[in-house]
Structures are given as C-alpha cells and as structure tokens.
Amino acid sequence: MLEVQNLSMRFGGLLAVDGVSLDIQEREIVSIIGPNGAGKTTVFNCMSGFYKPSGGKIIFEGKEVQGKPDYKISRLGMVRTFQHVRLFTQMSVVENLLVAQHRHLNTNMLAGLFGTPDYKRREQKALDRAAYWLERVGLLDLANRDAGNLAYGQQRRLEIARCMVTEPKLLMLDEPAAGLNPAETKELNQLIVSLKEDYNVSVVLIEHDMSLVMDISDRINVINQGCPLASGTPEEIRQNDDVIKAYLGEA
C-alpha cells in the first residue's frame, strides 16, 4: 500500500535521514522506533509532505507522492497526528471534526448561502460522522466545549478522531502515547487495534512506549542516527543485538 524507498533528507550539512525504507501493507500496524533525534519525525514529515525529501521515493497506492504539497497528500488518504497535540483550540470539539471533513462537504459558497439540498445533506452527514466518532472516543458529551479546555488525554483522542473522520486509508501517529498515564495508554492501545480491525486502516506509529509498540505492532522498523538499523516482527526486534546496543549502549 505504501512503500518508502531509500528516503533521505538533508538539512544543509546534516543528513537527518539516510536510506530509510518502509513497506506498509493494508490492515497492518507498523512502528518506527529509535532513540531521540534518530530522524523518526523527519521521516513522517517527508511522508506527509511537510518536507520535500532530498532523495528516494514514496509510493502510495502505486503513485509517487514525494514532494507533493501536504494538503494534497492528506486528500489521498494519508493523514497524520503530531508529537505535540495540534488542535484548533478556540474552536469547539465538534467544529474540529467538521473542519477535518472539509473535502467531503459542499464548499461552493453559493450553495452554502442558499442552503441547497445537497449542501444540507452533506452537512448533516458530516455532523453524523462527527457524532459517531465522538461517541467512539468517548467525547460526545463534550462536543460543544472548546477543544483547548479538554484534558490532555481527551485532546489526544480528539486528534485521532479528527484524523478518522477524514476516512483515511493510512493513519500516521506521532507518539500518540506521550504524556498519557498507563490506563489511558491501554485505552489507546485498544483504540489503535480497533482502527485496524474494524475500520481497515493501516497505521504507522512512532512511539517510545515499548509495551505499546511490542503489543500492537505487526512489524517494527528501528532507525538510529538517520540510518535504518533493523526491521522485523516484535519478536525479532526484541532479540536483535544491534537494537539492544543502540538502546542500552555497548555492554
């Protein structure tokens, strides 16, 4: 479904990502792990179109997408979250979800001004989808609160819901468990698995919480200092000597 070939990203003299390759099949959860500063988020930024990669190819459903503008990539069905939650804080929770469905709505201004049947129908559909996902992540009762007033864990869940209402094929989660307590992490764990099982979404995950990564990943890619270090199933990674060295230092 998604193939990243030999991706590299250079910032001036710094080669932040060097020859990273990924391969994500449908209905698969693939994790990217690595020490801080290894270049995981840079890979994400290249994939989602925030950076133009210096080299390599990104192929999504048979089409090369590297270097395309971010909003076009997202419209193809590759949607991401951010390491630091990026909600529209002064807008209400449900409005956050409506903004995300922009391309499913009738954005013709005259249609909106006169309230044509097509406009109303799509608007209602968007509201229903928003309600569905709010219920799903347990935020329906807070629908009209300002997004900025939610608790941190709720903000994280809202961000995932906001991605899901766009009906993506591939979801990229950048450290979704950062700042969550163990109970919340467990909930998140179940949510991500259900996204794959029930909604047929592939997930690429960057995460430092190893229990989460080992629990839900189908495959794991390890990056160290911008270079690919290892890849394989959670079992293989757990026993890989290079990975242990990179994480724990030379014994």
Partner: protein
C-alpha cells in the same frame, strides 16, 4: 519590593514630564516674520508638574488602588450573577441584533438631518468593520491596508460615473467585485507571510493605492479628487429638486409631496442600512459554513489545517477576497453619500480606526463589532466640544479597554451544534 515600586513610579513620572513639558510648556509666537519661543504661563507649568506627581502616586500605590477597585462590588453588576446558558445567550444576541435593526429603521424619521447623516456614516463603518472582521478576526490575517479596498470601491463608482455616467445601482456590484479582485491580487504575494510581516506588506499596499490615486492626476484628478458623483435613484426617481438626467422623474413630484432635502438623506441612510444588514447576514452565514470554519482553522493552527487537507492558498485568498468585497460595497455607498471623494479620505488612519473597531468589539464577534462601530464613530462627534483632545480621549479609551477587557467588548462565542447520537 517597595524600592522597586518607587523606582518604577519615578521613571513613569519622568516620562510624563518628558512627554508633556515640551508640548505644553512652550509657546511659539509669531512676531512679524520671525517666530519666538516663550515659556507657557505659570498655571500650565504647575499643571504639568501636578500631573507628573499624580502619575508618581498612582504608580507607586497601584496595587492598593486596583485592590480597592476590586472591592467595590457595585461597580460590577454582573459579579454575583451566574453566567447565562449558552442557548439563552445566543437567543439574546439575535434579539438584540433584531432590536438594533428595527430601531435603525425608525431612526431617520424622528431625528434631525445631521443625525441621519452621522448614522449613515456609522453604517458604512459597520460594513467596513464586518468585512475586516473576516480577515482579522476569523482568518487571523492582520491587514493594515484595508482602506485600500474601500478606496477602490469609492473610486470605481466615481470614475465610472465621471467617464461613462453609470448609476449607483450599476456601480454597487462593479465596485464590490473590483475591490474583491484587488483583494485577490493582494492575497497572492502575501500567501506565505504571517503576523508582523503580513501587516507591513498590507500597510504598504494601502499606501500604494492612496499614492497612486494622489499622483495619477490625468485619471483621478489627484488631490483635487472627483466631484459630482450622482446620488442613488429609486426606480428612476431622483431626489434632487430638479431632474438631472433625461428619462428620470423626481421623487417629490411623483408622490405629489413638497420637496425636502431630507428625503435624499433618509433614502441614502436606508440603502446603507439594507446593505449593512445584508453584509451582516451573509458573513453570519459564512461563519457557519465550511469556508468560515476553514478560516478559523487556519487562524488556530495552519500546520494542522494543512495536514487535514485544507489548501492554504484557497482559504487565505477567499478571506482576503470576501473581506475586500464588502469594503468595496461600503466604498460605493461612501462615494454616493459624499458626492465628492479625494485620496484624503483613504489615509492610514482610516485603516487604523476600522481595525480598532474590530479589536474593541471583540475579534470575530459580530454584535461586538457593530456596537464598537457605533461607539467609535459617535463618541468623537459627541466629544466635539473637546475638539483638540478628541484623539487623546480616543487613545485613553483604547488603553483602558485593553487593560480591563483585552478580549474586546463582546468576545466571540462558539455556535452550539446539536448532535444526534449514532448507533
């Protein structure tokens, strides 16, 4: 702590002296062809010193002063009350808006001609402020050159009427569309800019338009301006004593009433009122539409908005274009009201006043902006007796507002959206 307080207070007192003494403490007197500098009267000097002392005392004991103010519950009638319910508030707001419109409909028939004229100006400012509210309040794009679009609307009507003899009703859409086109043109080069940089470029754009109008003498008449701009007609009826254009009839003859200069003023006022109401309704609708939500999303977090598939180009350009469109509307009405326009009417101060209305009213809030437009236009008129100190009072009011209500008179509220539980 106390020492620091006094040092700060002393500093403030000295600043007061530095600012006020050269302005108030000296007089320039013309004697023949030479100008001599003389000291002011003793009473003025004493007043300046007293003002400095007052500043010192206030700054030194500021904490206890503000503490005292907080203890006066009567000053704040809302202190003990519970906040109103969201739905109730929304209902109240639409009632107030309807009330204002109904009141405005009867206004011209009970007050003097001067008041109606002033009210027309208020309505023009309301249109401008509502338009700028889209750009600044909703889309978060600081535009300091908004008056340029106002000028485009006004000059479109003036020039077209001068060269082709076009009527008000034809010029209204043309002026608005042309202003919108200029908005689009400004939008392109500033797509990547935010905040301060955007403010500077828009400021420059506003000045370019004004200077162009000032110097393109062959077309615009330069500083002499353009006069003889026609008044609007009602189904071919003119409001003048004599019919100027062939084929038209005059209003007072058609209805068999005595001629009165007031008819024209009232008619213009009603046109401005209708246009202002249309502006408010359309923008209100926009705010609840995908495009309005996209503007706000861009203001809140551009990166997140882009990651969800919103095109920055389309969203920013639509905000600039629609904001400019309503400025063009207002400009056409203004040209018709004045009958004469010159670049003098479109200086930076106008942009600043419109921006002040939006900020005072509360960014994004329609009712707030309307109330602020009324206050900002009428207060200087009421304070005409203080003539020289008008701007001083205006400035002081702004400073006090920013201290006590930095979010504006009536901050924007979110729309309550009802959701049906899904299975």
């Amino acid at each position: 702590m106390a020492a620091k307080n006094y040092r700060h207070a002393l500093f403030c007192a000295i600043v007061t002296l530095i600012i006020s003494f050269p302005i108030l403490g000296f007089n320039l007197e013309a004697k023949g062809i030479s100008v001599t500098l003389t000291g002011a009267e003793t009473s003025t000097v004493i007043a300046v010193v007293l003002a400095a002392v007052a500043v010192f005392v206030f700054q030194a004991y500021r904490d206890s002063f503000t503490g005292l103010l907080g203890k006066l519950p009567r000053l704040n009638p809302l202190a003990g009350r519970e906040p109103m319910e969201q739905a109730k508030k929304a209902k109240l707001e639409s009632w107030i808006l309807t009330g204002i419109v109904v009141l405005a409909l009867f206004w011209p028939f009970v007050v003097s001609r001067g008041s109606v004229d002033l009210a027309t100006l208020v309505l023009i400012y309301i249109m401008l402020a509502l338009g700028l509210n889209v750009v600044v309040g909703l889309a978060g794009l600081l535009d300091l050159g908004y008056v340029a679009f106002y000028a485009v609307g006004a000059y479109t009507f003036a020039l077209l009427s001068q060269y082709t003899g076009i009527s008000f009703w034809m010029a209204l859409p043309i002026g608005a569309l042309l202003a919108a086109l200029f908005g689009l043109m400004l939008g392109f080069p500033v797509l990547r800019l935010r905040g301060d940089y955007l403010a500077i470029v828009t400021l420059g754009f506003g000045e370019i338009i004004r200077i162009l109008l000032n110097n393109w003498t062959t077309l615009t008449g330069g500083p002499n301006g353009i006069g003889g701009i026609p008044e609007p007609t009602l189904f071919g009826m003119e409001f003048g004593r004599r019919v100027k254009e062939e084929g038209n009839t005059s209003f007072h003859e058609t209805f068999g009433i005595a001629y009165s200069g007031e008819h024209k003023v009232i008619f213009l006022y009603l046109i401005a009122l209708v246009l202002a109401v249309i502006t408010a309704l359309i923008i209100r609708r926009f705010m609840r539409m995908p495009v309005g939500r996209a503007w706000e999303a861009l203001r809140e977090d551009e990166i997140a908005a882009r990651s969800l598939g919103l095109s920055r180009t389309a969203v920013k350009l639509s905000a600039f274009t629609i904001g400019a469109f309503f400025a063009g509307f207002a400009g056409t009405v203004f040209a018709s009201k004045q009958g004469f326009i010159s670049p003098e009417s479109f200086v930076f101060l106008e942009s600043a006043i419109i921006l002040a209305i939006v900020v005072l009213g509360g960014m994004g809030s329609q009712l707030g902006v309307i109330l602020a437009a009324i206050a900002v236009t009428i207060l200087p008129e009421l304070a005409r007796e203080f003539s020289e100190y008008r701007m001083l009072i205006f400035g002081a009011a702004m400073v006090l507002m920013m201290i006590w209500r930095p979010q504006g008179l009536l901050p924007m509220r979110r729309i309550h959206i009802k959701l049906n539980r899904q299975e």
